[in-house]
């Protein structure tokens, strides 16, 4: 087993990092719920970054790393499904992609040009017109949307649906990894700068240990997300999504506790990561759905 990136993968990570650095800060005048990164999306499109998983020298591992890096940003862009799921659709479909699960509102639905619809065990695909979808107001820090009417779906075969569920789980884990790490970094910055009782909050062991436990979870999520992207194994994908949703629940709560009242404001950017994580918690059946998948794919049953 070799954990070193290839020269091509290193170059891609470096290029994404360079691009991302220009979008690192929330605009001071922004006090909304979701910060859509339209300029960032244009740059990613122009640079061909949405197609990196199909480049043989890069592959899904590099795509997962790109998704993770972009999720560190306060801006949100539909990248995970385009980079990691779209290459596995039976035919070429336009981006952005969105998922509607059990009729609920979904991320990026109002701007999606391709929608995957999951209902119980079945999955289908449609290309909506502008009149088929509409935005909804939401606390989640993604642009959320819903369907106005049911779509004319093309169903997937069981094998196609299984492949897509696997890559949806990898995409979820990679995105959650970036968001979790960014939320922790935001809390750590606050603990380092904010003083109480004459010393920085980050010197108090009660807080230090909680954040240390969070970063251990975060690094674990990253390992599992990257492993699943590299192996393309269904069981690995289920484990990665399971660990991501488990860890996100803990990190969201702890990060907000670290920021106290400051974390309740729209002025501070923490919610731009934690309220994206909250949107991911229910996806693909939530923890119960991932646990069922782990049981079916990873445990030997008699």
């Amino acid at each position: 087993m070799n954990f070193e990136l290839t020269a091509d993968q290193e170059a891609l990570v470096s290029a994404i990092d360079k691009l991302a650095q220009r979008y690192q800060l929330k605009p001071t005048e922004f006090h909304g719920f979701a910060l859509a990164g339209h300029d960032l999306e244009r740059e990613l499109e122009d640079g061909g970054y949405f197609d990196i998983a199909q480049v043989p020298e890069l592959g899904p591992l590099a795509a997962a790393m790109a998704v993770e890096r972009l999720a560190h940003l306060p801006y949100t862009v539909e990248a995970a499904l385009s980079m990691l799921v779209r290459p596995h659709l039976p035919k070429e479909c336009p981006r952005p992609l969105a998922v509607i699960e059990h009729g609920r509102p979904g991320r990026f639905v109002a701007s999606a040009r391709t929608i995957l619809v999951i209902d119980q065990d079945s999955m289908g695909i449609a290309q909506p017109t502008a009149s088929d979808v509409e935005p909804v107001e939401s606390l989640f820090a993604y642009p959320m949307g819903k369907l106005r009417a049911s779509l004319n779906l093309t169903p997937f075969s069981n094998a196609e649906a299984a492949t897509l569920r696997k890559w949806l789980r990898v995409a979820l884990a990679a995105e959650a990894s970036g968001l979790i790490n960014a939320a922790i970094a935001s809390a750590v910055e606050h603990l380092t700068l904010r003083k109480q009782f004459g010393r920085p909050l980050g010197t108090f062991q009660a807080l230090r240990h909680r954040m240390a436990e969070c970063i251990v979870l975060a690094r674990g999520v990253r390992w599992l997300a990257l492993k699943a992207a590299a192996t393309a194994d269904e069981g690995d994908a289920a484990l990665a999504a399971m660990h991501a949703q488990n860890s996100a629940t803990r990190v969201v709560y702890d990060a907000h506790q670290m920021l106290a009242a400051m974390g309740m404001t729209l002025e501070h950017p923490l919610h731009l990561w934690t309220y994206r994580l909250k949107a991911l918690l229910s996806e693909l059946g939530g923890r119960g759905g991932q646990a069922q998948a782990v049981a079916e794919l990873c445990f030997e049953t008699q």
Partner: protein
């Protein structure tokens, strides 16, 4: 099922933490605070597995399964042996998160 799946995921994460450290050593790099994170990830995974065994297969600790019994006897000391887990958390806070150090008397 959720408890078992969480434990399995935590074990896999701990396994990759450890492989990551081994890979760093293989390339001649010092392991640094990631080793403390790997250690704590292992303690967490051990705890989840031990809890699952106690709650769902308690008979294994009463003469039912020698392998699970042996695992449990070792798992109970995972958070203490070779540096308590809380020492690892202090190291992670200072060296990995770069939080300011606690004042020393």
């Amino acid at each position: 099922v959720e408890q078992a799946a969480s434990a399995r995921a935590a074990c896999e994460a701990a396994r990759f933490y450890s492989y990551g450290i081994v890979d760093q050593r293989r390339h001649g790099k010092a392991s640094g605070p990631e080793a403390s994170a790997a250690r704590y990830a292992t303690v967490t995974a051990e705890k989840l597995v031990a809890e699952f065994v106690v709650e769902h297969v308690p008979e294994s600790l009463s003469g039912g399964d020698s392998m699970l019994l042996a695992h449990h006897q070792r798992a109970v000391v995972a958070g203490i042996a070779s540096g308590a887990a809380e020492i690892q958390l202090n190291l992670i806070a200072t060296e990995l998160l770069r939080l300011p150090r606690e004042p020393r008397a």
